[in-house]
């Protein structure tokens, strides 16, 4: 036990930073640090078991915008039967889902809705970018209204190429994701949670990245100030 506790390799950056701040006489009381340590230690034991359970019941969100969504429906039906892998429960609300399969082209108008959906998913959450459209923009790569890949707005775990990918390919991507889940460590994932935010926010009205809009606004104000 004590070995594990002292094993600093697994402890988080946060814990390490805090360890210096805590005076020696308080070291054996329950602090945030020790909770972290406990989580670290426990997650080594619990994670494999929990991951096994979790990886076999990944519930996808029914998010489909276009052609790929039809193949996503096919995979739930009798011929391919995704329920063999525990993912037949397509949830209509992000609050109950673990996985977004971004099936279909994401346009600028849709991007903000996708980000909202992604933010509403509870941790741990995963994304499979399905189809050429969501990987790079695909066939509509140079269209004025298409986002060139969802990885520009949300983090992606598995890329699934094809236009549309065959249902077997979706199953393959799901299996890849299950492998990924099985190798995860709860404590590490918990630390990374802040990285699981959308990569880039998109304005709902005009479909442009918020950073750009902010920069424009700043420029405008500084120009106006200069003129004064």
């Amino acid at each position: 036990m004590s070995e594990l506790l002292n094993n600093d390799l697994n402890s988080t950056d946060l814990a390490r930073e805090n360890a210096a701040l805590i005076s020696p006489e308080l070291a054996d009381t329950v602090t945030l640090t020790s909770i972290d340590k406990a989580i670290n230690m426990l997650s080594q034991i619990v994670s494999p078991i929990a991951n096994l359970a979790r990886s076999n019941s990944v519930w996808p969100l029914t998010f489909g915008t276009s052609c790929c969504a039809i193949e996503m429906m096919c995979v739930g039906m009798s011929a391919f039967d995704i329920s063999r892998f525990g993912s037949e429960v397509f949830r209509a609300t992000p609050r109950q889902a673990d996985l977004i399969i971004t099936a279909g082209t994401i346009t600028r108008k849709m991007a903000s809705a996708l980000i909202t959906l992604y933010e509403q998913l509870p941790e741990p959450k995963y994304v499979i970018a399905m189809g050429a459209c969501t990987i790079t923009g695909g066939m509509f790569n140079d269209s004025y209204s298409v986002v060139q890949g969802v990885d520009r707005i949300i983090p992606v775990d598995v890329y699934l190429p094809g236009c549309p990918p065959r249902p077997e390919a979706i199953l393959d991507a799901l299996l890849k994701l299950q492998q990924k889940i099985r190798t995860e460590n709860y404590a590490k994932r918990r630390v990374q949670a802040y990285q699981q935010r959308p990569v880039c926010y998109v304005d709902y009205d005009c479909g442009r990245p918020l950073e750009d809009l902010l920069a424009m606004a700043m420029e405008d104000t500084s120009l106006a100030l200069d003129q004064k």
Binding site: T62, F63, G64, T65, S66, C67, A69, I70, E71, M73, C74, G76, M77, S78, A79, E88, F90, A92, G104, T105, T107, K109, M110, A113, L117, M139, F140, D142, S143, Y144, S145, V146, C163, P164, R166
Partner: protein, 376 residues
Amino acid sequence: MSTNLETTNLKTDEMIINMGPQHPATHGVLRLILKLDGEIVRHVEPVIGHLHRAQEWQGQNRTLFQYQALIDRVDYLSGMFTSLAFAHACEQIDGCQIPPRAQYLRALVCEMNRISSHLLWLGTFLIDLGALFGFPFYPFREREKLLDLFEEIAGQRMMFNYIRIGGVQRDPKPSWFEKVRKFTAEFPDRIDEYEAIVTQNPIVLKRTKGVGILDKSVAMDYGVTGPSIRGSGINYDLRKTRPYGIYPELNFEIPLGQNQGDTWDRYMCRILEMRQSNNLINQCLDKMPEGEISGKKQIAGLRIKAGEGFSAIESPRGVLGCYVISNGSDKAYRIRWRNPSFCNLAVLPSLLIGRPISDIMAIFGSIDVILPDVDR
């Protein structure tokens, strides 16, 4: 039911509710802004364009040959029809001849595609009505068979790129025709099976009879086409009224709605249409001539003559038209799509107003809108 709601003296406030764009029953990404009075819909504003992929812009920036591969995505459930509309327009501008075997193959694959599209509609319509993931197994079983057949001739399950300007892409093997025959032989039984489950099902009847009545004059004013308007009793099917391809040589009937044009009629029209298509496939197989399959060389620098033309065909959703302006180069100067879903969706607000909120999905499902066809 709605009349009861109308006459009660409960005092209610109006409320604005946003439905979509991520909603399981909107077949993609439609957004409806609803103004509700209690349960009753008072005002609807559909917000579309969440799937606007700039197909028309692509049309004038890619060569005709490249663009042929893109247009299956205009209406992905019936890719054969979009290819056919585009090929028709280009061929008529160009004046090239299509060999008879290609004509028959086109009609054959189109009717097969019509069935597969209606089957998917049947599944999703029943999902919309609440038969979540129970019933849809049945139509999808047959749809998989059709997709396998498509895959054999076109190489893809959904994005066929099979019908090209001047003809078709590949000549199927004789064994393929045998497989199609096997499918058509057993398909009528399958439709009987769906009908046994759905047609007289009291829940379905309750939710569809007398719901979403599409008046003839309203429908004509909005330019509604396809099974939606045939459900209202207007006999308008391009295969009969403006025959194209080899349809004049085939023998079939246009099913019409029997009542006043409610959701139920539109459902029944599509079921009967599937039977007709099955019949048509058999006729095509019987009459299939031998010979060439393409009247134009399929090369990357494919050109058509200068000129402009509009050509329309009857897709599973209605009149699908393509307007091509060509200047004789390998790119079109302008391509414009006339999508049936776009026009049919415009009629949705007039169907929904005054209905309870639970009918929205039944009515919306019954006009069979597909969102990339709306947004392009």
